[in-house]
Amino acid sequence: MPAPRVAPRLSAKESLILDLLAHRGELYGLQLVSASRGRLKRGTVYVTLGRMEEKGYVTSRAEDAPDGAGGLPRRLYEVTPFGLRVRKAWSALLQHLSPEPAR
């Protein structure tokens, strides 16, 4: 018997990050923090992004450094097609499960 496949899950933070990346395109950690208006924290954003990268929801790359510029580059994050599908499915599921308004 084949092993049962585990359905992807999205935490509130992961869902928020996917929303932000889907709407605004490539962003780095601090931009995500400021765009979330306090819902994401600097101390946790990269841990969440790392977990999402492991799950395949986002990809990352080091930003291109300008010529002659030294120092550590920032890391830019982008949502993957799989991440977009999970986001869409998750929103549909939440909508489906939300209680109907009383008549």
Binding site: G29, L30, R42, G43, V47, G71, L72, R75
Partner: protein, 322 residues
């Protein structure tokens, strides 16, 4: 914030390349673009991110330690525990046999008391045999395994776990068991004030400090001080013993006959430890050598041996890798 920044260099020594790429570098990279914000806030964010990452990584790390290297680490932990129990039973066997001979003709109630007394001796024996168990466990568990740096690190981590276990036993187990043993044998129906061996670390330290304030108290405090530091030295013993065991596992005999070298090492350790402490005790009485120095003497010898073993082990590992 460059790749050569001291903070980054320091973290690179402890963190995996994956953690550096996902947590450390992006956070440090962001700090370069935060003009006008205090730098300490960036470091605080980094500390929080690393703490959170460490906590969320624990289940995965435990699972890897359990399953990697054909379960060498859980095997080593189990072997060490079994070896410690067997050695502890062997250590208390002699007093038990003596006790049983004496009480065999006595009423059943006295025989039951003797059995309880025997059980109460086990924690004291375990303090010695728990660290010694590593000497047999590592050669047995690592037989035929490729010795990587990761496996060595995990073995040392296991030795640290044994330091904590020995410490817990020394702090909570031994004083209570010793006191119960004394009460059972000397005064089963009454109260008995705990002796120095039955005191915890805090009570013993207080006793030493109080004694030192009295006239002539410094001399009287010497045995107590010796006992205090001996307890600490025995707690940290698993660490040098673990390193020594890794060295033994690397020897040609350790690879061919781990049982033989491990069992011999356990017997030699326990056999040498007692005369060393006896010699230290004699020196304590006849000389003015500071008690901490004497108490640490056996463990210091062990550290010297372990250092030699670690060098040998590193040479063998390098040769195997090359």
């Amino acid at each position: 914030m460059t790749i050569d920044h001291p903070v980054r260099r320091l973290l690179a020594r402890f963190c995996s390349p994956d953690t550096m790429a996902r947590i450390v570098d992006p956070t440090l990279g962001d700090m370069r673009f935060e003009r006008g914000r205090p730098t300490w806030r960036g470091y605080l964010a980094l500390a929080r991110a690393l703490s959170l990452h460490a906590i969320t990584s624990i289940p995965g790390a435990v699972s890897r330690v359990y399953s990697d290297d054909r379960r060498a680490i859980p095997r080593a932990a189990t072997y060490a525990l079994l070896a410690a129990l067997v050695a502890a039973l062997a250590l208390v066997a002699l007093p038990v046999v003596t006790m049983m001979r004496r009480v065999s003709t006595q009423p059943v109630s006295i025989q039951a008391v003797s059995f309880e007394a025997w059980l109460l001796l086990i924690p004291q024996a375990l303090v010695l045999t728990l660290p010694a168990g590593l000497l047999l466990a590592f050669p047995l568990a690592f037989k035929g395994r490729q010795r990587t740096r990761m496996l060595t690190r995990r073995a040392i981590l296991l030795a640290l776990v044994y330091v904590i276990a020995t410490g817990a036993l020394m702090v909570w187990g031994v004083p209570r068991a010793n006191q119960a043993f004394r009460v059972l044998l000397i005064n089963p129906r009454g109260q008995l004030a705990p002796g120095p061996t039955e005191m915890g670390f805090v009570a013993l330290r207080e006793q030493i400090d109080v004694l030192k304030l009295t006239p002539g108290g410094r001399v009287a405090a010497r045995p107590l001080e010796f006992l205090y530091y001996t307890k600490i030295a025995l707690i940290v013993a698993p660490l040098p013993l673990g390193v020594l065991a890794l060295g033994l596992a690397s020897t040609p005999l350790g690879r061919r006959r781990p049982w033989l070298i491990g069992t011999s090492a356990v017997i030699a350790y326990i056999g040498v430890l007692f005369p060393l402490y006896l010699a230290a005790g004699v020196l304590l009485r006849v000389s003015s050598v500071p008690p901490p120095l004497l108490a640490w003497l056996p463990t210091s010898c062990l550290v010297l041996l372990a250092t030699t073993a670690a060098r040998f082990s590193a040479t063998v590992d390098r040769a195997a890798a090359g």
